[in-house]
């Protein structure tokens, strides 16, 4: 099979993985070496596809042959999709050729499971090893690992990669049993726990002066949204655990979207893109805004409001906490005001040390006045408590029906 055809199949096979980060790696560049590459700055998105996703890494499967049968996946063994295999050298050459032309930040490599977990891992590692050792490649490498692979192989992958990941896929074992029968949540968590320890060890070693140590700096995962009956509360509780107990850098939420070769066990439906978006917003609130999962969702209300962003929805449920005084409220309180982001809160705290803040100041900070006004007291504004208490407040923010993004 010619290379172009393989690329077509094996990039298509990889596109359902949403992870795209190319940031957070240790600082390194090509000046002291013989190859190409640099990492350690902000991630760079070299292109965007019309699906709105960034193209940062060359995202490939080594092969789309797979002995697993995950029903949301086009590459499962029951699918009749055409199969292809890359050789390690083909992937190495593609990565270097694209990288030198500044098309990509590096390589994201995954694979269908062939023979067994260890054999598959070895094939994936061989590519990364050749890039690093033979070509002194110093760009970004993200390797997908398999929970059942031997811990030594996963650690070897971590030494060549900047980031490694295992996909959680679904939030409960019940869903996995139905849709991804070969996958097991307990085994995945054990592997993630082990990876966390290795990452911590590597960080400690570097701190202790082993500056030459090359090691991945983080792990991430992906969950599929809308393939099973799990609620948003299930997803967020899962993410909360992953961030806290396993110190994941990112949880990616990927809306289950139609694939060719649909499974009889999981019929296709429109991808829940707004739901996916709201989950990312809620995830952000947990990581950067000090919200607890239970504040965002409750057992009585296990789904995010699709019409309003989760911070605004929280504020409308907790009106007794508002209005807050912009001049005096602590940082944690300001972070909870709808319409104020992390950056602007930091700026406001700086500004108010020197001067009184007025609405015009906020608008020069590019804050949406109509969004914050009901919730804030400024030097020249005191919101009507009547509005804050009334039903009209929600109506003010809810989108008009025609503005809803509908799948057609």
């Amino acid at each position: 099979m010619e290379l172009n055809k393989k690329l077509e199949i094996l990039a298509d096979a990889a596109k359902y993985d949403a992870s795209c980060a190319s940031s957070g790696a240790q600082r390194s560049d090509s000046r002291s070496g013989k190859g190409v590459g640099s990492t350690g700055g902000a991630g760079i998105c070299h292109s965007y596809a019309p699906d709105g996703r960034c193209i940062s890494l060359l995202k490939l499967l080594l092969t789309n042959s797979c002995i697993y049968d995950c029903h949301y996946c086009i590459n499962r063994r029951s699918s009749n999709v055409r199969r292809a295999f890359f050789t390690a050298d083909e992937v190495v050459k593609l990565t270097l050729d694209f990288y030198k032309r500044n098309y990509i930040e590096g390589l994201f490599l995954s694979s269908g499971i062939i023979r067994n977990a260890d054999y598959t891992m070895e094939q994936v590692i061989a590519v990364a090893k050749t890039l690093r050792e033979t070509h002194d490649f110093r760009g970004y490498i993200h390797l997908k690992t398999i929970p059942e692979a031997s811990p030594e192989l996963i650690e070897e992958a971590a030494r060549y990669a900047d980031r490694i990941s295992i996909n959680m896929e679904l939030p409960t074992q019940k869903s996995l049993d139905l849709l991804a029968p070969e996958k097991n949540m307990a085994r995945t968590k054990i592997a993630m726990g082990r990876i966390r320890q290795r990452l911590d060890d590597a960080r400690a070693q570097k701190k202790d002066g082993n500056r030459k140590l090359r090691h991945a700096t983080g792990q991430s995962t992906q969950v599929i949204v809308g393939a099973d009956e799990s609620t948003d509360a299930d997803f967020l509780a899962g993410s909360d655990e992953l961030y806290n107990s396993y110190k994941l850098k990112r949880v990616y939420y990927s809306a289950f979207s139609p694939i060719p070769e649909p499974s009889s066990i999981l019929p296709l439906k429109a991808p829940p893109l707004i739901r996916e978006h709201r989950l990312y917003q809620a995830d952000w609130l947990m990581r950067f805004y000090g919200f607890k999962t239970q504040e965002i969702l409750s057992p009585e209300q296990p789904f995010l409001d699709l019409e309003l962003d989760p911070k605004l929805a929280w504020a409308l449920r907790n009106r007794h906490d508002f209005p807050v005084n912009l001049q005096t409220a602590p940082k944690e309180t300001l972070l909870r005001v709808p319409g104020l982001g992390v950056r602007n809160v930091a700026r406001i705290i700086q500004i108010r040390r020197h001067t009184k803040i007025r609405l015009a100041d906020l608008s020069r900070l590019r804050v949406s006045l109509s969004k914050v006004m009901p919730f804030l007291i400024t030097a020249d504004h005191n919101p009507s408590t009547l509005l804050l208490d009334s039903d009209r407040l929600r109506a003010k923010f809810a989108p008009k029906p025609q503005q809803l993004e509908l799948f057609t």
């Binding site: 690329l7 077509e8 199949i9 990039a11 596109k15 090509s30 000046r31 070496g33 013989k34 190409v36 590459g37 640099s38 700055g41 998105c45 292109s47 965007y48 596809a49 019309p50 699906d51 709105g52 193209i55 002995i67 029903h71 029951s78 009749n80 593609l94 050729d97 694209f98 030198k100 032309r101 500044n102 098309y103 023979r115 067994n116 059942e148 070969e182 097991n184 307990a186 085994r187 054990i190 993630m192 726990g193 966390r196 107990s245 809306a255 139609p258 694939i259 070769e261 649909p262 009889s264 019929p267 296709l268 991808p271 700086q350 040390r353 001067t355 100041d361 906020l362 020069r364 900070l365």
Partner: protein, 291 residues
């Protein structure tokens, strides 16, 4: 009123501005422009008796902000920077840079932001083409064409030196060019037209990748154009595929939705799959670690 030549970058402007502050020249008295040699009245009339400001310091936030603002394309940037500097030093507003909502600072932040954004976009959207390979050393030479709005070539190219230290390259732009030969990063005047029109041989396979990585079932055109504005498209070899990908997407998804559902195939005889089944039935060998 006097005309003062800001020169071409932050360094030259800073030298001129230092002299003006030393002379306590008010912002309203200065027109930042290249002095017209025909105009007899442009000769400097700076006072030299103001020892008070002969040396002065500014908070470190100011040069940081000013370096970015200086790269912006608008003419008024020099006057804006001088007004801020004057307020900090002569007006004794030492904290001015911390007041992001001040009209002058807000404006400066806005300009700095678009400059930083374009530097980032240059790092993202420069597309190198292989020009030749040295037959003896096999060192490769690449070239790229980029069209920035702002004067960012000098600020943006050290990134490429770090990343591509071991290949030779030139980046040509109308606002200045940068050249790396493995030893020094050299800058030259801008040129009006793309000198590397011919496509690189790899572009065809890059376009295959772009076409294949797109998921037609989740069209989000606005999310794409926000991050990859159309004005960059003409120098991106993949961008002329966008229209076609968008227009085909509905049909592609309709086909998927109409495909017959595939039944699950039985598991092949495989020792590894068998071992997974056994593991799942047995209790997990160790507890997942807790916090």
């Amino acid at each position: 009123m006097q005309s003062i030549d800001p020169g071409k970058n932050f360094q030259t402007w800073r030298q001129a501005a230092k002299k003006l502050i030393t002379a306590a020249a008010a912002p309203e008295e200065i027109i930042w422009e290249k002095p017209d040699p025909q105009n007899l009245f442009h000769t400097s009339t700076l006072r030299s008796d103001t020892a008070e400001y002969s040396t002065f310091s500014v908070p470190k936030e100011f040069p940081q902000l000013a370096k970015s603002v200086a790269c912006h394309q608008i003419e008024q940037r020099w006057a804006l920077l001088y007004r801020i500097l004057w307020r900090i030093v002569i007006g004794r507003e030492r904290h001015l840079c911390s007041i992001s909502s001040d009209p002058d600072i807000a404006k400066a932040h806005l300009l700095a932001k678009s400059v930083r954004r374009e530097i980032h976009k240059m790092h993202a959207f420069v597309r190198f083409k292989l020009v030749d390979t040295d037959p003896e050393t096999s060192r490769e030479r690449y070239a790229a064409w980029f069209e920035p709005d702002h004067h960012i070539v000098e600020a943006a190219t050290p990134f490429f030196r770090k990343r591509f230290a071991n290949m030779d390259w030139s980046i040509f732009t109308p606002k200045g060019c940068a050249h790396w030969d493995g030893k020094t990063l050299r800058f030259s005047e801008g040129i009006p037209e793309n000198p590397v029109e011919d496509p690189d041989a790899l572009e065809a396979i890059w376009r295959t990748y772009y076409r294949s990585i797109f998921n037609p079932a989740r069209l989000k055109v606005k999310a794409m154009t926000t991050e990859m504005p159309k004005r960059y498209w003409k120098n991106l070899p993949e961008a002329d595929l966008i229209q076609e990908l968008i227009s085909e997407s509905t049909t592609r998804v309709t086909h998927m939705m109409q495909e017959p559902l595939r039944p699950a195939k039985p598991a092949p005889k495989n020792k590894y799959l068998e071992s997974l089944r056994q593991m799942s039935e047995a209790p997990p060998p160790e507890e997942p670690p807790s916090i």
